[in-house]
Assembly symmetry: C2
DNA sequence: CAAGTTTTTTACCTATCGGTACGTTACTTC
DNA sequence: GAAGTAACGTACCGATAGGTAAAAAACTTG
């Protein structure tokens, strides 16, 4: 029965700005003053709209997984397992070599951190493992459909693909270029099971 | 021309304690109070002996690369390229799934961080890239010696191996077990160039 | 034992951390 | 236009960050 003062900023735009900062500096390396400066709002507005730093990060994480990181879930829809993997790894290269914020928000914040942000780390790890389980299920289906050799191990292959994907993010953070990492992806794809003798 | 009060702690032992903390929490997530508590010394002693937090980390980084991370440089001495890779990746699994401090100090601290520790990050990145260059040189030699097929790309292969190695560290930080990661290593080795038709 | 040197201890520094109290402003509803 | 509501701006909170001043303590050398 009353409206109140309207919000002076766009919530989605503010989240995008926050994403930029968290991506570039990590959760632990980001101060509230960094966030408010980038988002163009002051501290009480941030708390009013998003709760606190941790809750804001979780919102940003959702946004990251659905937005820039969405290629991974989308890749599962490829009809052939090899193309699923090609999209996941190719997408990782494009994502993590994007100038301005090299590396991956998810990979970064799954790493060791101080005790006070262990909960945030766990949230990231849980999401990562959900993605792993989804790829594993997808590769199990592929094997059942004959899209992978009968002897293939979907669990190990899924772990392998995500291992390479994580590694791509780390390498990108260590100045690897997109071209260099695309060659890495090519090596993986050239040896993907079920395509006769590899060329390399 | 005088002795002064003798140091009440062992410098190497203190560095090992500091390594534990930096490994478990990362540079950014480690407070000086964490360090002094673990090292069993008080703050001015730390500054007197090691300079400051950043200088201490650099000492610890040296110690890490020569100690727990020494398997990587040692692996280059293997006579066959495939065994070099097997030792690097196998060593990464053992190192990063060691209970108490999962993950890798080097991988962790090469990731995005706040502005105030960017110099530390660069130091880590530079060391990582030196290791990459060494493996690349080793694989070039292998190709020249016929230990790799003539068409093999040593630079891409070296990057690939380190990508997997980094990925292993990330996965270990996300609760992957040593057994799971050993299967990943097996997949890489099964497809290593120059061994006829792969079995998978 | 006195002088000189270095480490230890205690106590403290400033800056910044994440988070909030409170009064003001801008809007909707009656 | 009065009442109600919610976001805004300013100014602040206690806690902790990395780092240090200064004096007491433990040694070596003469």
């Amino acid at each position: 029965m009353a409206g109140g003062r309207p919000r002076a900023f766009d919530e989605d735009a503010a989240l995008d700005r926050a994403l930029e900062v968290f991506w570039r500096q990590g959760y632990e390396g980001t101060a509230l003053s960094d966030l408010t400066a980038a988002m163009g709002i002051n501290r009480p507005s941030l708390y009013g709209a998003f709760g606190n730093k941790e809750a804001l990060f979780r919102r940003v994480l959702d946004r990251y997984v659905d937005g820039p990181g969405g290629y991974s879930a989308a890749a599962l829809a490829e009809p052939r397992a090899r193309d699923v993997v090609a999209r996941i790894l190719g997408g990782a290269v494009e994502l993590t070599t994007d100038s301005g914020h090299p590396g991956c928000l998810s990979v970064r914040n799954a790493q060791a951190c101080g005790p006070e942000c262990e909960q945030v780390r766990r949230a990231v790890v849980d999401r990562r493992n959900a993605g792993l389980a989804a790829l594993r299920a997808r590769l199990e289906r592929a094997r059942d459909e004959g899209d992978l050799p009968p002897g293939a191990d979907p669990a190990a292959l899924a772990r392998y693909v995500f291992t390479v994907s994580d590694g791509i993010a780390s390498q990108a953070a260590s100045d690897a270029t997109a071209d260099e990492l695309r060659k890495v992806v090519d090596l993986v794809l050239a040896a993907w099971p079920g395509q006769g003798e590899p060329s390399r």
